[in-house]
Amino acid sequence: MKKLNGVAASRGICIGPAFQFLRTELNTEKKEISDPEAEITRLDAAIQTAKDQIQSIYEKALTESSEADAEIFQAHKMILDDPELITTIKSRIQNEKINCEFSVYETAKQFAATMAAMEDEYFAARAADIMDVANRLLRVLMNVADSPTAGLKEPSIILADDLTPSDTVLLDKSKVMGFCIAHGSATSHTAILARGLGLPAVAGVGIDVMDVLTGDMLIVDGTNGVAVIEPDADTENQYRKRMETSKSIQAEALKFAKDKAATTDGVELEIVSNIGNVEDAKFAVENGAEGVGLLRTEFLYLERNALPTEEEQYQAYKAILEVFGKHPVVLRTLDVGGDKEIPYLNLDKEMNPFLGERALRLCLNRPDIFKPQLRAALRAGVGHNLKIMFPMVATLCCVRSAMVVVNECKAEMKKEGIPFADDAEIGIMVEIPSAAVIADQLAKEVDFFSIGTNDLSQYTMAADRTNPKVAELSNAFQPAVLRLIKMVIDAAHAEHKWVGMCGELAGEPLAAPILVGLGLDEFSMSPPFIPLVKQIIRNLDAEEMIDLAKGALQLESPDDVKDFVKKEVPFINEVIS
């Protein structure tokens, strides 16, 4: 048995056989050949087969993934069509009388090196594409299975260095129990995939993938960031028990998912969901969401060639609002910046897109984007409980400027005789520390706050949450972040405004007692977290939690805070496995 510590990349436990996701070492040894013509015929046949393979992956990606993902494979096909590359490969076979494999490998390496030397991210990615294509060609030439996942026949835990986008397209998701990633971080491609699928994952365990064989027993504890290789009977039993407990708790919680979340002393809290499209909306309702605390509207803008029209947006918002009837739906206006690839917006490349012209800042400079969205939202809100929320508010001035645009839209629609939701509440996200600091002033201007803990943590801690070296710093359990949250809630309540939270902290079981104690009114989270958080709240005494929260804010580190909650609210240890 070997126990390894890594990063908790996706919550949950799984136990099963490992599937060693390994790219076969391709033998590209140099060999002298006597018949270059026959070698070239072999190459041409391989190129054709490789093209066919790429075509079918392209089609698979188109239906399962996005057009942008699929486009990578179109680029791969163009590389196989490239006369410079193919002519060079062929002339080397001809002139040097060498085998296909060696020529393909050496030539591709040379082209890739030229690309990589251009010191530009774009070319570096093309260099990787060339090698990806060359490897495919080599696999065809050597008759090696097309995908390293081809051998995945029974449900297994994928053990890999990290997966490329092309690997994940080919993965048969019904046979994946979880992921154990040797390198990578909580933000690597595989980790994001795992969270999307709701599968446990641990990253950065630092093992040599070669040391574990396909079929070896593996435990992945994605909640605590632990992997166990070939566990002994005792350890396996312990984990099985935890898994079963967690399963039955989940099942139990799901039974009561649609019931209200009220504390033992009768404080009723609003549990809503973060969603990004109408499918999410239905999933949220099944999991007991009493509305939407964050409707991300970016889905309407991505992977297309022009801005969505007002009418198109109206239809999309209407469809989502109808799922929730009279329940509240908080629509967040467009939240994009220089880090997102939306070519038709013609955004400038920025040195620091997270500190740049993004979200509301962009919208205020671009009425052509902002106004159609506000009009569509206000129109769709008729007969529903729509609320509008602005992201990335740093000053009083930007809230007021946004309100001016809202009022302009309303005046225009009044004139045009178009019905709209005149009484829709308008609020802001509190995700920039400055907004938390002046929350008392902002509370006078808006109807509600929603705390975005992911950004609030990274801006407060000055730590990029996608950078594994500092990601741990950007933790919402940091006492500094918790104190800001308290300031925001107190300031809003002083003005009789309500406060929600739509960051990851809202769905975190260990945070629930603190947030209840701080007086948070609305908790918004991914649908799968709702039943459990509701169940936890039902077992808490709100009055007692006030003291717990006070105590937590005096502690010195995120770990201290978590340990304190576990000690003060012992039942929580059983639900977080």
Partner: protein
């Protein structure tokens, strides 16, 4: 042989989608076509095969650079003017 000089004005230059479109268009012609531009860093003329995506990409043509398209073959006039128009029209995108 036909020759056309044209300034690349679209935002990304001969990269990404525009580069792909350029190569796909060039590949439809029978003529041999190459593209050359002046490399200010090394102060010399660089040339690439217009039908090679890797060649075009490594040429490193950014916004504002003038390129020379040379076509040689039975459909050379059509090839040179079609490719020059494609560049002039910013590959059908907004500049």
């Amino acid at each position: 042989m036909k020759e056309a000089k044209v300034v690349v004005n679209n935002k990304v230059g001969l990269h990404a989608r525009p580069a792909a479109l350029f190569v796909q268009t060039a590949s439809k012609f029978k003529s041999e076509i190459n593209v050359s531009c002046h490399d200010p860093k090394e102060d010399k003329l660089r040339t690439a095969n217009a039908k090679s995506i890797l060649g075009i990409l490594t040429l490193g043509v950014f916004q504002g650079i003038e390129i020379t398209i040379k076509a040689d073959g039975e459909d050379e006039a059509d090839a040179a003017s079609t490719l020059a128009d494609l560049v002039k029209n910013n590959f059908g995108e907004e500049a």
